[in-house]
């Protein structure tokens, strides 16, 4: 089987030549998945060169129609060969996969006003998201400085809820009291009514809570930066093909630029080319060691580092704050971002199995799912 693809306006035209049977169906599945991962949400499959299609081939067509429909994309079949046309007709898929005119595609043409930006490694589409002039209000809970020496105690712990319109990162744990959580406090992030944290009890298994009805996730928090209010902008980005990836600092810099601000609360949902970072290995409570957790040699006991980029091709949710300079209330938890761009930031990331993202303004709905 031969699969080729090329962009044609909003669509990616994919031409398939060969047999679409049980043996080759997986090959096409992988090809289409790769095309979706490159950002395509409108795919037109030219099947004029397909001499044979079985139910396994039909399965692939139905599967990708559903996948793209779920992200408000479009999946069409064009120029089917006679055998393909007959099978589509037999399965009642002809009208769905081959609408009589392109009116369907036109009907769902994007009506959104978009500002486009081109950067060294990536391209961006910027959408107004919140009400005009809306601002995210960020505040710090607790005393982040107590991480130096791991000096947190019961007096520094408080119970915090993380409802829908909240973006937060910090150290905390799911539980009812400080004493219940004291040996497993770890990094957490909370976005759109969902909270996830990595316990430091040695299990290394992340835990999460989701809002449901009146239930709102709640954590015992040692410290946190909490940003409340509507997100002002949505920036949809794609890495350029030459580089295939875009760095976190570049993204944060772009967010600050388009928001016209020196500090921003940021949520990123993206396919990961690789996550690089560190996580606490032990609960930072009453350590009694001044150089914990960042001094040498204690750092080895207290932090685990990714020795190489991890979770490639996963769906990463990254939340945090970034600033041009380490001033103001956020200063104690801002760290240099590295690279050529002089930014300071604090981000936490959670990795999920890959799923495609909806393009356009509505893509942010995915955050809560």
């Amino acid at each position: 089987m031969e699969i080729t693809s090329q962009r044609a306006g909003d669509f990616v035209d994919v031409t398939v030549i060969g047999r679409l049977d049980g043996y080759w169906a997986d090959h096409l599945t992988k090809g289409l998945e790769d095309i979706m991962r490159q950002g395509a949400d409108r795919i037109r499959l030219n099947l004029s060169g397909v001499t044979y299609i079985s139910s396994m081939g039909i399965r692939v067509l139905v599967q990708f129609h559903k996948k793209l429909h779920s992200i408000h994309g479009i999946f069409l079949v064009s120029s089917p060969s006679d055998p393909v046309k007959r099978v589509l007709s037999m399965t009642g898929l002809q009208d769905v996969l081959m609408p009589a005119t392109s009116s369907r595609a036109q009907a769902v043409a994007r009506q959104e006003s978009i500002r486009r930006l081109d950067r060294k490694n990536s391209t961006f589409e910027i959408f107004e998201y919140g009400a005009p002039g809306s601002t995210l209000k960020c505040r710090v809970i607790g005393a982040p400085d107590l991480i130096h020496g791991c000096r947190f105690s019961e007096a520094n712990c408080r119970t915090v809820s993380f409802p829908d319109a909240t973006v937060a990162v910090g150290l905390g744990a799911f539980g009812n009291s400080f004493s219940e959580c004291s040996d497993r406090f770890g990094e957490f992030l909370a976005v759109a009514g969902a909270a996830a944290y990595l316990p430091t009890d040695g299990s290394n298994v992340p835990d999460f809570l989701l809002s449901h009805g009146a239930f709102v996730p709640e954590l015992q928090v040692l410290y946190s930066v909490v940003c409340e209010g509507p997100l002002a902008l949505l920036a949809r980005f794609e890495a350029k093909q030459e580089t295939g990836r875009v760095g976190l600092t570049e993204l944060a810099d772009l967010c600050l630029e388009v928001a016209g601000t020196n500090q921003a609360g940021i949520v990123i949902i993206a396919e990961s080319a690789g996550l690089v970072g560190a996580a606490l290995r032990r609960s930072p409570v009453g350590a009694g060691a001044e150089s914990a957790p960042f001094g040498h040699p204690e750092i080895r006991k207290w932090l685990s580092f990714t020795t190489e980029p991890s979770h490639a091709r996963a769906l990463a949710v990254v939340a945090g704050v970034a600033a041009r300079s380490p001033d103001g209330a956020l200063a104690p938890l801002l760290r240099p971002s590295g690279g050529d761009l002089a930014l300071v930031s604090h981000f936490h990331a959670a990795a999920f199995s890959y799923r495609p993202l909806q393009k356009g303004r509505a893509g942010s709905d995915r955050l809560s799912k």
């Binding site: 043996y23 079985s54 396994m56 399965r59 429909h69 055998p83 099978v87 898929l93 769905v96």
Partner: protein
């Protein structure tokens, strides 16, 4: 391995996707020799493909390497008969309910259309299980 048994011509291969093409070519060549029309060849290939894919995917437990035995014969009245035999778990495709195809594609299951194809393409289908062997017979009329 090819051998003659009665009037059937048989081919036995492992029950994996890599065997699919060889089975199909074996039977389609037999049907060509019997001077089947292109239309009939297409129907035959689709029906057999679905029957084989079903056995390959579901008949044997994961990790067990089973085999499939496929035979065909031309019958005197212009009919063409194909037989698919395996020793995997019993499955009678005739007992399965015909798949329901809701008009809205979003309501459809992703799979499950193989049996529809088989029933649609073959003129007659027979199933028998005896001595731990599944025997599926597909018959195509002239």
């Amino acid at each position: 391995m090819r051998f003659e048994q009665s009037e059937f011509k048989w081919l036995i291969l492992p029950a994996d996707l890599g065997s699919l093409r060889e089975f199909l070519e074996f039977v389609v060549q037999g049907a060509k020799d019997a001077e089947f029309s292109q239309e009939k060849l297409w129907k035959l290939e689709l029906a057999l493909d679905e029957a084989l894919a079903n056995v390959i995917r579901y008949a044997y437990p994961e990790g067990k390497v089973g085999t499939i035995r496929v035979g065909y014969r031309s019958e005197g009245d212009g009919q063409f008969c194909v037989r698919v035999c395996d020793t995997g778990q019993a499955f009678d495709p005739l007992s399965a309910d015909p798949p329901v195809l809701p008009p809205d594609i979003e309501d459809r299951p992703i799979g499950g259309m193989g049996i529809l194809f088989m029933r649609h393409m073959a003129d007659e289908i027979g199933y028998r299980r005896k001595g731990g062997i599944n025997r599926l017979t597909l018959r195509f009329l002239p």
